[in-house]
Each structure stands twice: as C-alpha cells, then as structure tokens.
C-alpha cells in the first residue's frame, strides 16, 4: 500500500537532505497508488500537481521530518478535494423537495431510492417514492416491494411513459403535502442520447431540485466519463457511492467529486435498508490512499 511504498522510498533518503527530485520520486509513488485505487489518470495527475507545489516549498525542504510532512500534505489535499466535511442534505418540512436518482445500469439506484426514503422518513419527513423505470423487467415491482417491506410510501401506477409518471407522482406529492419525492429512474448510458434527454425531461417536468448520481464504488476509469457527461447534461447536485462494503479502494469517488464538483452525500454499505451512511471524506481518504 501507499504507506509501505513511501516508507521504502524514504528509506533510500537515509538521513540526507530532502531535495525536489526526491519529492518527485515520492509523488510518482503516490500517483501509482491512486491509479491502482481506480482514480482517473487525469484526476490523479492534477492532484499530484497540486501536492507538488505544496510539497516543494521552502518549509518542507528544510523540515526535519519531510516524510511525515509529505504524507500529511497528500492526505490533507485529498480530504480538501473530496469536500472537507461531511455534507448533510437538509430538505425543509412543508415544502416539496424532489430527488431524481440517476446513474449507469446496476449501480444501485433502486436500492438507494429506498434507503434515502428510509433515511428521510426516520428524520420525520413525509416521503413518497416512485419508479419511472418502465424498461427493466420488474423494476417498478422491485421498488414497490422494497417500500412495502420497510414501511415506506410508493406511488402506485401502471404507466408506460416515464415523464408522464413523474408528472403524476409530482402532482400527487404536492397535493398530499409530501416533503420529499424520490424518483427512481432507469439505468442509462451517458452516451445514450435519447435516455439522457429523457432524464432531462423528467427533471423539467417534476421540477427536480436534486439530481443524485449513483455510482458503483467498484467502477474504474470510466466513472470519470460518466460523471462528466451526467453533470454536463443534468447538473448533478450530489452523488452516492454504493457497494463500499466490498474491498474496492473506491478511487471513483475522487474522480466523481473532482469532475462533477458536487458533494459525495452517502456511502452504500450493503443491501439492507439501513446500510447507508453519511459520506465521510477522511474515511475515504484512508481507503483510497491506504
């Protein structure tokens, strides 16, 4: 892992004075660690560039503990890029907030629509969910069952047009005093023009306040492309990283955060309704940097 790599590089220094070229070598190791953790190579390069400026300043080169100082700089810069503190979503009671859940196929949208509903309902909000996934076999049924099993409200419909369903659910939510409406959309590719246009049409019709990008934390380099395209077309306001109960390093988190510039809101840590925690940037730093 990174600590071991850096320890080995540092051992080569053997008490000699720290030089800019040594810092270069250390940063090369950091870059490799980031790439192995699935951080996108452009995001890794720009991260290293920022760290380099901080790590080759006069203070560092004169320091008696340069190794520790560089590690600290890397760590701090990392947490800074991730969004220093945990961000809490704060919908308001009495006013409808609409969440539109989007992302690639199989990323965990339906599961996290239910988890979000549970999260907000437990906090005292009146929550309604709706699935507009008319494509995937039994997708609407999946959300319905998740809601029924967990005491959550789901908007029942037999519609076949996502935008129309979204409109009906929005009207119902407004009319019946819901604080939150969560729209579960179908998995879609960022290069599928028609589907991306559909997501935009849903946003317009349902007046979505929050566009939440759900990303599989095991995703590789492609997470950067996904984040960029979804953000450009839909303006992501937050993301959820799923399946963090696996041993994935989760570098996609850094890529998504850096590219979408939207906060990482939650971490999915299992299949159960309660398996979702507020995202902690420092914990993610530990995980990615090892």
């Amino acid at each position: 892992n990174l600590k071991e790599r850096l320890r080995n590089t540092f051992a080569k220094l053997q008490g000699k004075r720290l030089t800019a070229s040594y810092v270069e070598e250390v940063l090369r190791e950091v870059r490799v660690a980031l790439l192995e953790a699935d951080v996108h190579y452009k995001v890794a390069s720009s991260f290293i560039k920022n760290v380099k400026e901080l790590a080759t300043g006069e203070k560092i080169l004169a320091s008696l503990t340069p190794y520790q100082q560089i590690i600290d700089i890397v760590y701090q810069e990392f947490v800074k890029v991730m969004g220093e503190t945990a961000v809490e979503l704060a919908p308001v009671k009495g006013k409808l907030t609409v969440f539109e859940i989007v992302g690639l196929q199989g990323s965990g949208k339906t599961t996290h629509t239910a988890k979000l509903a549970h999260h907000f309902q437990s906090a005292g909000f009146k929550v309604l969910t709706v699935s507009v996934d008319v494509y995937r076999p039994a997708a609407i049924e999946q959300l319905k069952i998740l809601c029924n099993n967990n005491g959550l409200e789901n908007f029942d419909h037999s519609g076949s047009k996502p935008v129309k369903i979204a409109k009906k659910a929005y009207d119902h939510a407004k009319k019946n005093g819901y604080d939150i409406l969560i729209i579960d959309t179908a998995g879609r590719l960022h290069i599928d023009d028609a589907m991306m246009k559909e997501a935009l049409a849903i946003k317009k019709t349902a007046e979505s306040n929050e566009i939440i990008l759900v990303v599989d934390s095991m995703a590789g380099q492609d997470a950067a492309n996904v984040a960029r395209e979804f953000n450009e077309l839909l303006n992501i306001t937050g993301s959820i990283l799923t399946k963090l109960d696996s041993d994935t390093r989760g570098g996609a988190a850094l890529s998504v955060r850096a590219i979408s510039d939207a906060p990482l809101l939650f971490a999915g840590t299992g299949e159960h309704i309660a398996d979702m925690e507020v995202f902690h940037p420092d914990r993610m730093a530990q995980r990615i940097l090892g």
Binding site: E36, D38, L143, N149, A219, Q221, V226, K243, D245, D247
Partner: protein, 275 residues
C-alpha cells in the same frame, strides 16, 4: 491520429494514456509500454505503433477466446457480485443456446433474496417462452436449486438448465459460504458439479475485478467469464490482467440490455474497442 507523426514521445504518451484509461492497471501499462519501446525502436507513426501494440496485447490474450457449446443435459451456474448483469445474461445465454445451438433451455431462479429477483427472471422466461423453476421469495436458494436440478433431470424436456444466483460481494464470507453450499447442492442433486460455472464481470469495473475473480476462482473454478456493459465507454481492460493472472477464458461480451445483446468474445473486436 496521423497528426502525431514525428513526435514519438507524444505518441507514446498518448498510447500510455489510452491503456490507463482502458483499466489495464498502472503496472500492466508499464510492462506493456516497456515491451513496446523495445520492439518498436524504429517506429514513429501512431498507426504503426498501435498495430504493434495490438499484436502485443493479442499475444497476452492468446487462448482467451472460448466458445460455449454445452452437451445436452448440462447445468450452467452463473455467479458474480451485485448488479453486474447476471440475470440479464442468463436470459441472453438462453436465447443464444436456443437460436445458435438449437437447444431447449430451462431456467432456475436461484436468487430468492433480492426484491423482485424472481419476477425479473420470470418475465425473461416469459419473453423467451421457456420454463422457469422457481419458488416464493425468501425460500432457501439451496432447496430451490435442488428441486430445479432434480426436476430438470427427471422431466428430460429441456437440454440445458441455467441457474441464476443472487449478487454477492466476494468479501462477504456468509454469501461465499452460501455459494459453496449451492454448488454442493447441485452436485448432490445432479450427481455431478455444474458443467459450466460462469463468472460475470461488469465491464465498467476497475482493479477490484481482479479481487472478485481471485475469490470466485478459489471458490468455484469458473469455466469462463462474461464481461458485460461493453456497449458503454468502458473498455474492460482488466481482462488483460485477468487472463495473464488467472487464465480463465472469456465466453462473451454483453453489449446491451436486450436478450440478443450477447457477442462471442473475439480478441480483435475487443482490441478495436480499446483503440
């Protein structure tokens, strides 16, 4: 592409970035670039360099293509982590065997845990007009699969049984133990291990795919891989590291959400996607 003619350092950097972005992994990229520089001393043209590169990678992948041609009476077990495309691929495999191999196929709904998992597979069975062995949600997956295998063998009205299973994170000991039990159940019911054990890998997965393959390999010695979602922008570069490390052949690429969207894995088509 030709605009890079003459600037070799620039061309090599561009190639390195392409390989990294394809999820080949930094160490593998270093190895490949090292060999490229040695074998392509005189080359300065991007197209010639990438041809050289393609042949290098194709050499690593030599033997990775494998055709699915099961004997009548075969049991195919499908496995993988959550959301990778197992259930959809089960439907695709059924369609492939029916239309390309002229076989009769039945399915077993081995995911009794996830909401609407059985309903999802039932709808696919309906579309394909084939039999689905299933029980109610919450039933023990082992007993559902036991009954399915027994009925499949006793009825003899189908050539192939494809068993769908629930997604399982490879580091979840309980779920991996459950999968061991499922394999034992199949052996007990069929008098043999599953003839094909297929591991499904999501094409958008990064380096973690190697951890997944490692654990599933130790647990069940997969007979083949299927890499899904190759219709996106992900390049599935982890297949190169995977084959080098584990030698598990690749059967198909998933290329969409319809049951026809399954393409036999071909090295040339795979490389074309990367370049």
């Amino acid at each position: 592409k030709g605009v890079f003619k003459g600037d070799k350092k620039g061309i090599l950097e561009k190639i390195e970035m392409t390989l990294l972005e394809a999820d080949m992994g930094p160490q593998t990229v270093v190895d490949i670039m090292e060999e490229l520089k040695n074998n392509a001393e005189g080359l300065r043209d991007y197209d010639l360099l990438s041809k050289q590169l393609a042949s290098q990678i194709s050499r690593i992948l030599q033997g990775s293509e494998r055709e699915l041609s099961p004997e009548k009476g075969s049991i195919i077990l499908v496995m993988g982590v959550n959301g990778v495309g197992k259930t959809t691929t089960v439907a695709k495999l059924a369609h492939y065997l029916i239309s390309e191999r002229k076989m009769k196929v039945s399915l077993a709904a081995g995911d009794t845990y996830r909401a609407a998992a059985v309903e999802q597979l039932a709808q696919w069975a309906n579309k394909l007009d084939i039999k689905l062995y299933s029980q109610q949600a919450g039933a023990d997956p082992g007993s559902v699969i036991f009954d399915a295998v027994r009925s499949f063998q006793q009825r003899g009205d189908s050539d192939i049984l494809i068993v769908d299973t629930g997604g399982r994170i490879h580091t979840n000991e309980n779920l991996i133990n459950q999968f061991t039990k499922i394999q034992r159940v199949i052996e007990k019911a069929a008098g043999k291990a599953a003839d094909e054990r297929i591991l499904i890998i999501d094409g958008t997965t990064g380096q973690n795919a190697l951890n997944q393959i490692d654990i599933f390999k130790k647990n069940s010695e997969p007979t083949g891989l299927i890499i899904t979602k190759m219709d996106g922008t992900a390049k599935g570069g982890i297949l190169v590291q995977s084959f080098r490390k584990f030698s598990i052949p690749v059967l198909f690429m998933g290329t969409g959400e319809r049951f026809e969207d399954l393409a036999p894995f071909k090295i040339t088509a795979y490389l074309e996607k990367i370049f």
